[in-house]
C-alpha cells in the first residue's frame, strides 16, 4: 500500500485542506469499526505513540493510538493555520508540519515564489524529507492551493518545483482553485498565468476548480432541500457539501460547503487506492491513462450524486441517472461543458454496490452523445471500489481530459492581456529580485501554446475518421 502527502499552501489551500482531513477521518471512522490501524488509514495518516510526547515512534500495526496527518501546512499569514490548530483537528497536526510567517504575500505571486520561496526553501525541503521518511512507499504529493493570490499561487508553485527536484519519482497531483471573472483581487490574472507556467511544466495532473461552479452546486442543493420537492428525507451526511458527522459540527464557516466538495473530490480520487474493489484504479493509473501528451494534463472533474435520499432501494434507473449527471454541465467543478467539446480521455471511478455490467451499460448508453478524439474512440478508464462514501450506497467520480478547459484558459489569458497591455501593477512584480519582463512574456507564451494545442485538437472534432494505414506484410 502506498502513502500520499498533502501540501496545503495559502489561505484557500489550508481551508480546503482542513475540510479534507476532517472528512477523511469521518470516512475512515465509518469503515474502520475495530479501531485498528490498517493499510487504508496509513495512506494518509501516521499512527503515533504519543504516550512519550509528540515525538513518539510510529506504530505500524495494532490499535490506533494517535493519528497524525501526512501533511505540510504552509501559509505566509498565521490566521488560518492558527485557527486550524485551535480547532477540533489540532491533534491531527503537529508543530513540525507547519511553516508560517506573519505578513502574507500581498496577493503577489512574485513575493510568494521568489522571496518566500528563497527564504523558506531549506525549511520546506527539510520538512518534506521528514514526512517522506515516515512513509514506507510514498506515491503521491497532493498540492492544494488557489491560483489568484500570492502565497498559494506563488509559494505553492515554488513547492511544486521543489517536489520535482527533490522527489522526481513521486507523482504530483495539484488541485488548483482558479479565480473567477469578478474576483476582487485585481492582480489575480497575473498570479494565475505565472502559476500556470509552473503547472504546465512541473505537475503530473492538475484538477482545476472554479468557485462559481462550487457555488452553483451549493445553491442547487439548498434549493432542492428547501423546495420540499424531495419526497423522503435527505440523509444529511450524504450531502457532498456537508460536514455532518465530522469533527467540525458547530460554527460553520462560509466557504465550508464549497470546500467540502473539493475535499470529497480528493477522497473519491484516492478511494480505490485505499480500499478494495473488483477493478482497482490507483493514482499512477490515473496519470498513465488520462495524460496522452505531457502538457495536456488538466482534468475536469465531476462528482455525483450530490446527495442521497434515505430510502434504501435504489432502482437501476437512479443509478443510470448518476452516470448521466456526471456528464452534465452543472455537475462539473469548473464552468465547462464537456459534452459539447472533445474528449481526449475519460475516467470513471465508481464506489459502492455497482457492478461491471452497470458500468458497461451506461458507457454504451452515453457514448453516442460524447465526442472522442479520433485516436481514442474508446478512451475509457474504469475503476470499481467496493466501499461507498459516507451516507451513500454508491457514487461516481468522472475525470475528463477534455478541450472544454480551453475557455477557462482563454478567459484567463484575456484578463491577463487587459492588464498587461497597460502595464498595470507590473511594478509591484518587477521590483522583486529575480523578476523580469521575460517572466511575464514566457508565462503568457506558455499559456498560449497550451491553448493552441487544444485548438489543434478541437479542429479534428467532427472531421472524417481516417484510420492510419496498417503495416503490410509480404506473404
Amino acid at each position: 500500500m502506498t502513502q500520499s502527502v498533502v501540501v496545503q499552501v495559502g489561505q484557500c489551500g489550508n481551508q480546503v485542506g482542513c475540510r479534507f482531513w476532517d472528512l477523511a477521518l469521518r470516512e475512515h471512522a465509518a469503515v474502520n469499526k475495530k479501531g485498528m490501524y490498517d493499510e487504508a488509514l496509513s495512506s494518509f495518516f501516521r499512527n503515533v505513540d504519543t504516550r512519550s510526547g509528540d515525538n513518539g515512534p510510529d506504530i505500524y500495526k495494532g490499535k490506533i493510538c494517535s493519528l497524525k496527518a501526512r501533511a505540510l501546512l504552509i501559509d505566509m499569514e498565521e490566521g488560518v493555520v492558527n485557527e486550524i490548530l485551535q480547532g477540533p483537528l489540532r491533534d491531527v497536526f503537529d508543530s513540525k508540519q507547519l511553516i508560517t510567517d506573519v505578513s502574507g504575500s500581498g496577493n503577489n505571486w512574485a513575493v510568494g515564489h521568489k522571496i518566500y520561496g528563497c527564504q523558506y526553501r531549506e525549511n520546506i525541503v527539510e520538512k518534506l524529507r521528514k514526512t517522506a521518511e515516515h512513509c514506507d512507499c510514498l506515491q503521491c504529493f497532493f498540492i492544494i492551493h488557489s491560483m489568484g493570490g500570492g502565497t498559494g499561487s506563488g509559494l505553492g508553485t515554488f513547492v511544486l518545483n521543489l517536489l520535482e527536484e527533490e522527489f522526481p519519482e513521486v507523482y504530483r497531483f495539484v488541485t488548483s482553485v482558479y479565480p473567477s471573472g469578478e474576483d476582487d483581487v485585481i492582480t489575480s490574472p497575473y498570479n494565475s498565468v505565472l502559476a500556470m507556467k509552473e503547472l504546465n511544466e512541473h505537475a503530473d495532473c492538475v484538477l482545476p476548480i472554479e468557485n462559481e461552479s462550487l457555488f452553483e452546486i451549493v445553491n442547487k442543493i439548498h434549493q432542492m432541500i428547501n423546495s420540499g420537492k424531495l419526497g423522503s428525507t435527505v440523509k444529511q451526511n450524504s450531502l457532498v457539501t456537508s460536514s455532518a458527522g465530522s469533527a467540525r459540527t458547530l460554527q460553520v464557516k462560509p466557504f465550508d460547503a464549497m470546500n467540502n466538495i473539493v475535499a470529497n473530490l480528493l477522497l473519491n480520487l484516492t478511494s480505490s487506492a485505499r480500499f478494495e474493489g473488483s477493478l482497482n484504479m490507483d493514482l499512477n493509473e490515473i496519470s498513465m491513462n488520462l495524460v496522452p501528451f505531457p502538457r495536456l494534463h488538466y482534468l475536469v472533474s465531476s462528482l455525483t450524486p450530490l446527495y442521497t435520499l434515505a430510502d434504501v432501494n435504489v432502482p437501476s434507473r437512479r443509478l443510470d441517472q448518476m452516470f448521466s449527471d456526471a456528464f452534465s454541465r452543472d455537475h462539473q467543478l469548473i464552468q465547462a461543458d464537456p459534452k459539447h467539446s472533445l474528449y481526449l480521455a475519460c475516467a470513471l471511478l465508481v464506489r459502492g454496490n455497482v457492478e461491471v455490467s452497470d458500468l458497461r451499460r451506461n458507457i454504451e448508453r452515453l457514448k453516442p452523445s460524447l465526442h472522442f478524439v479520433s485516436w481514442n474512440q474508446e478512451g475509457w478508464k474504469t475503476g470499481l471500489c467496493s466501499i461507498p462514501p459516507v451516507g451513500h450506497s454508491h457514487s461516481l467520480l468522472a475525470l475528463a481530459n477534455n478541450t472544454c478547459v480551453k475557455p477557462t484558459f482563454i478567459e484567463l489569458k484575456d484578463r491577463f492581456m487587459k492588464l498587461y497591455k497597460k502595464k498595470a501593477h507590473l511594478h509591484h512584480y518587477l521590483q522583486i529580485d529575480g523578476m523580469e519582463q521575460s517572466c511575464f512574456s514566457e508565462a503568457i507564451s506558455s499559456l498560449s501554446d497550451l491553448i493552441e494545442e487544444y485548438n489543434e485538437l478541437d479542429a479534428t472534432k467532427g472531421g472524417p475518421r481516417i484510420d492510419a494505414s496498417r503495416l503490410k506484410i509480404a506473404v
Binding site: C137, L279, V291, P292, A345, E355, S357, D467
Partner: protein, 450 residues
Amino acid sequence: MSIVTVQLGQCGNQIGHEVFSALCSDVRGTHGLCSKKENESYQDSCKERFFCEEESGVPVARAVLVDMEPKVISQTLSMAARSGHWRYNSHSHFCQKQGSGNNWANGYSVHGPRHKEAIMNLVQKEAEKCDRLGGFFTIMSMAGGTGSGLGAFVTQCLRDAFPTSFILNHVVWPYGTGEVIVQNYNSVLTLSHLYHSSDALLVHENDVIHKICAQLMNIKQISFRDVNQVIAHQLGSVFQPTHTAGGGSGYSRNPLGDLMETLVPHPEFRLLGLRNIPQMPEKSLPYSAFSWPGLVKHLRQMLIANAQMEEGIDWQVRPPHPGSSIPSTNKPLHFNTSIANLVILRGKDVHSVDLGSFQDPSLYTSWLNPQDAFNAWKTPRAFNKYEKSASLVSNSQFLLKPLDSIVGKAWNMFASKAYLHQYTKFGIQEEDFLDCFTTLEQVISSYTNL
C-alpha cells in the same frame, strides 16, 4: 504430472482463485455419475495435478501469486483460507506496494528485472514440490500493467529457466469499450512478447463471457466475480482429468504436453480459443436434459460459424465443398477455418458419442491429415454438476477478428503518438513498438491466409 499455476496481477489472481475453487468443488461433488473407482481415480488425478497434500488434510494449491500491490493478493489468500476446503501456501506469494500503473513498460522493464530473483525462487520451490513437473499455467490479463508487462517478463524467465517444460498462458482480453485507455498498447506488447516465449495462448474475451452471463446465465447485475466463475468453469472443463484417445486405462498424465501436441503443430499459430456447452444457471440444471448428438451438432456449428455461445448460432454457414481445391480467398466469408481442434467430453454415456463430423476435412487447412488435426478426450465422470459437458479448444480463426481490431486501434493511437511518453520513460521505445506491430501483423496475415 503436476501443473504449477502462476497468477499475475489483479485479474490473474481473481481468476486463479475461482479456478482452484471450481476444481476443488467439482472434485468434492457427489454428482460424478460414474463408478466409485472412476471417481476416485479422477479425484486422485486432479489432486496430483493441481494440489499438494498437507498433513492437515486441506489441499494446498500448486500456485504462485504475484502482484505489484498488496490488496488483491491478501483478499485472495483469505478467501481461499475461509473456504475451509483448500488454501494457498502462505509463502507462495510475492507483492510490492505501488502497482504498475497500467504501464506495460513499468511491469516489463522495471518490476520484471527488479523482482526476477524473488519470483523465480517461489516458482522453483513450487516446481520442486512436484514429483513430476508437467509444465506451467500462467493467468493474466493483457490490458493492465502487471499481468501484461510483468507477465510477459516472467514467461520469458520461465522459458529460460525451464527450457523443456510446457508453458501455457491464459490471457484475458479486455472489453472492447475500454477498461483501460492504453489497453491496446499493452495488448500488442504482451501478445507479441508471449508469442516468442510461450507454447500457446489460451484466450478468454471479457465481452464474450459477459454475453454468456447476460443471456445464458440470466444474471441481472453482472459482477467480475460472475465473469470469473464462468471462465473458471470453462478452464476446469479443459484441465480436469480425462482419458486421451490412445492413453490406455488411466487418466492422462501429461495434460499440457498433450494439449500442445494436438493443437500447436506450427509455431506461427499459437492462439487457442475455448468454447464450452451447455452453460446455464445452476438452478436450471435439474430441469434440463441434453443429448450428445445435439451437443456435438451445436459445438460443430459454433466452430464453423465462429459463434461465441450456443444461442444465436448462424446455421447458414457451411464449410466449402470437399474435394474442390478452393483458394483461401474464395472461401465462404464467414467460415472459420481450423488448424487443429480438441473436443473434451465429460459425463454420461460418453463412449457412445460419434465425433465423425469433426473430422470432416473441409473444416481444416490442407497441411494436416484430419485424423491428426482432430483429437478427442473423454471421461464418464461428469463435471461441475453438468450431466453432460462438451468443450472445444480450437486453433482456428476464432480470434482473428478481435486480434485485428486490437492491432488496428493500437496502430491508430500509435500514429498520433499519444501516450508514448509514458512508455519511453521506462525504456520501451518507438522501435520496440514497431517490432511488436510487425510480429502481430505477421500473425494476422498467417491466420487470414488459412
